[in-house]
Amino acid sequence: MRLAQSFALENTLIQADCIEATEFPDLSSQFRVYAVPKTVINGSASIEGSLPEQFFLEEVLKTLPPQQDGGSASEPAG
C-alpha cells in the first residue's frame, strides 16, 4: 500500500485505496483476491504481491493505454 499511496501523492489523477479484504468479501471475490497484497489497477489489471518501486511502477504504467498528447516532434512540418 505504501507505494500506491506514494503514487497518489505525485499526481492528482491517481487515487489509492487500501481495502481490508475480509471486510469486503464481495469486492474481494469480484477481483479474485486469493492472496494479499493484491493491487487492482483501474478495475481490471492487477499485480500480485509486493514489488520494488521501479518494477511496481513499470507494471502499473504497462496497463495504461498509450498517451496521445500530439507532442511528437518526429514529423517534419513541411
Binding site: A4, L9, L13, I19, V40
Partner: protein
C-alpha cells in the same frame, strides 16, 4: 477500554511528532449493520488524540451522501487522509495490523508532502494524463 495499548500509543505519539503540517482524517461510517464500524471509529478517535496536528471528522454515510460523493467514498467504514485539499488516499475497513501501519505512513507522507519516491518515478508519475485507480487489497496480518 482502549484499542491501542498504552505502549503502542506512546510509540505512535512519538512517530507523529514528525508531522510538520496538519492532517485531517475524514471518516464515513454508519451506526447499524456494520461489522467493525464501532471499533474503527474508536481506533480513529484514539489515534487522532495522539497529535495536535491530527484531526478527525466523522460523517454518517447514509445521511450525508453528498459528502461521501465529494470524497469519492462508496462503501464503509472509509477513512480519507486529507491535508488542506481533498486527498486521494483512502482506507476501507478497520485499520488494524498492516493497514494501521499503512495509515500511519499515509498520515506522515501527506503531512510532510513527501512521497519518498525516487526522482525517476516522480517524473514518470507526473507524466500520467489519465485517471489511475489503485485498489490494494490487504489483510490485518
Amino acid at each position: 477500554m482502549s484499542l491501542l495499548r498504552e505502549q503502542d500509543a506512546a510509540e505512535v505519539r512519538e512517530r507523529l511528532k514528525a508531522m510538520p503540517s496538519p492532517v485531517r482524517l475524514v471518516h464515513f461510517t454508519q451506526e447499524l449493520n456494520l461489522e467493525y464500524g464501532r471499533e474503527t471509529r474508536q481506533l480513529l478517535e484514539e489515534l487522532s488524540g495522539l497529535s495536535d496536528q491530527l484531526s478527525l471528522e466523522i460523517h454518517n454515510f447514509l445521511l450525508e451522501k453528498d459528502k461521501a460523493a465529494e470524497y469519492g467514498v462508496d462503501m464503509v467504514p472509509a477513512t480519507v487522509v486529507c491535508n488542506g485539499k481533498a486527498s486521494a488516499i483512502r482506507f476501507y475497513g478497520l485499520p488494524a495490523g498492516y493497514e494501521f501501519a499503512s495509515l500511519l505512513d499515509a498520515i506522515l507522507m501527506v503531512s510532510q508532502a513527501d512521497s519518498g519516491l525516487c526522482a525517476e518515478s516522480r517524473e514518470k508519475l507526473a507524466a500520467i494524463t489519465q485517471p489511475l485507480h489503485l485498489q490494494v487489497f490487504v489483510t490485518p496480518t
